[in-house]
Symmetry: C2
């Protein structure tokens, strides 16, 4: 599709870089911006410009934060001996939304993936081991591994467990099984098979 203006073409190219945005949506977004007021477009652009420079990361858990220590890490109401290891900040938000977890977090910033060139030192693994080993700022009793169930996630789980177990900390992982509300007929074979093998006592 030939666009009639280079400025429009540039905006469309930039919108197209966003995940899941094709040329047609990008054009729709750009034309929408064109119809917005000068001030609104400035606000839009300004928010993007400052996103990268203003967003900070918590020095303790590496979650996104406005402060050096994020509100979760700073909260006296959280269980400070319980630490959940996640891949990215999205998972922190997802777990927080459940309102079922009252411990702390540690954001790895990814998982070990040699094929993508992501090694141990590209992640915050050293900081995690150091945090558990030193017992600073809080002694950790249990580490919950909440990484994705991919080959990379499993590799990372395996490595973390090997490093954490000798430190005398309990290492747990998320329960896997048939999702609540799922129809057995449509549950994938691996999940259903494992959920039978790993069946649990009935509780009413």
């Amino acid at each position: 599709m030939d666009l009639p203006s280079t400025a429009l073409q540039r905006a469309v190219d930039q919108f197209s870089r966003l995940p899941g945005v094709g040329r047609r949506s990008a054009l729709r977004y750009a034309l929408h911006l064109l119809n917005m007021s000068e001030i609104d477009v400035h606000d839009f652009s300004d928010a993007m410009m400052h996103l990268k420079s203003e967003v900070r990361h918590c020095q303790l858990c590496h979650n996104i934060s406005d402060t050096d220590i994020c509100p979760i890490c700073a909260s006296p109401k959280r269980q400070r001996g319980l630490l959940c290891v996640v891949e990215n900040v999205q998972e922190v938000m997802a777990i927080e939304n459940t309102q079922q977890y009252r411990g702390l977090y540690h954001v790895l910033g990814g998982v070990i993936s040699p094929i993508d060139g992501v090694g141990i030192h590209d992640l915050t693994i050293d900081a995690l081991i150091q945090r558990v080993a030193s017992g600073q700022p809080d002694p950790i009793d249990e580490v919950v591994l909440a990484l994705p169930t991919t080959m990379e996630g499993d590799t990372t789980n395996f490595y973390l467990n090997k490093q954490l177990a000798p430190l005398g900390v309990k290492v747990t992982t998320l329960a896997r099984g048939v999702a609540i509300g799922d129809n057995l007929e449509y549950t994938d074979e691996i999940t259903l098979g494992r959920s039978i093998l790993n069946r649990v006592p009935f509780s009413s």
Copy 2:
């Protein structure tokens, strides 16, 4: 969903203003920007900032253009007596993509819609009438109304026809009927009904 940073919240709020973008997609876009390099984010923001100020409109047809007169209006290869009236620049692109139309365009910038507060003088209708009446820069033989088939589009068609007919110009509109490749079984009743009433001689 509570976001852990005001800068992130602001970016998500801005992305959410784009058409068809919900909170979840907006968050995905913002986190994608966060993972981009400083320079790439600057380029993104910069393209949006300059979009509004750099995009110009053709003084003749009001299409988006880099120049005062757009390449279509400036082209000696177009049929200069044939003028297609469209709502927005998207329709110009759509018609150009068909490669079936070799005339000129006139972009109204909307359709008459009292309920949205859009009157005749908010559109480029006066310029259109003036353009046809004066025969400047080119005498127009035929005006093709290619507005949407909505109540507002029909109102605008009606008004334009009333203004243009006394000027001695031929006023036509797009052929309506069953789309090519469409199954009659699934064609809407109004379209199918009209396409029977307005049947045309068979040509092989």
